[in-house]
Amino acid sequence: MSMKITHEIKESTIIITLDGELDASSSVILDEELSDPEIMKYSKILVDCKNLHYISSAGLGVFISHLQRFEDAQIKLIFFNMQDKVRNVFEILGLDLLMTIVSNYEEALTIADE
């Protein structure tokens, strides 16, 4: 599998760490992770993209398909530590305007607590 997903829980926050490449093959496991009903217990989902080296439309599609559900439940979804080349893919579709992408973990925590 070209994608490894781990998570860490801190009270009402879940930090999801993506390690590898999210393509049409590997994005299935991300979808399973975000579809888990347990995730709705948290009010903040922080996604660490430091080791996310690649994302295709299939990976973007997983986030697109869950975004409204999280917003409706007032769950904040925040991406941080994203590599420039990966952020560029979000920007090509204008997703950087619809999703919250910040530079680092500290900034993600600040935004999450607003």
């Binding site: 393509d23 093959s25 295709s56 439309s57 299939a58 599609g61």
Partner: protein, 136 residues
Amino acid sequence: MNNVIRVNCSKKNLKPIRDFVTEYLEPLKLSDIMMNQIVLAVDEICANLIIHANQEDPSKYISLAIHKQPSVLKFEITDNGVAFQKSNYKEPNIEEHVKVGKKGGVGIALVNRIMDKVEFSTNGSKNICLLYKKIK
């Protein structure tokens, strides 16, 4: 340098295709962003052909050939599956996708925005997709 790769229609072969494109383009010293965009556009077309045109049938194959012209890269991707109907294609409204929770349908939009020219044609049972990218 070998400029052709042929793989069967399994999603697992997307990674080897990306690695092939990356390796082929390495000597061109493109920026990280440009390299990633080109690899992405080829990956999107190949994923569509493997999943939609050939229903992930492992007995079917797709081929990619890369042609380097002085200031343009040309990618030729061929298969024998169901031809892509460009006339049926509609640019996605991303905000609408978010609203209804739609998972797919943004791949071709990425390809169109990244590449300088995108062509689809059919010759008998063979479908040909040509992608052109200016590099200078």
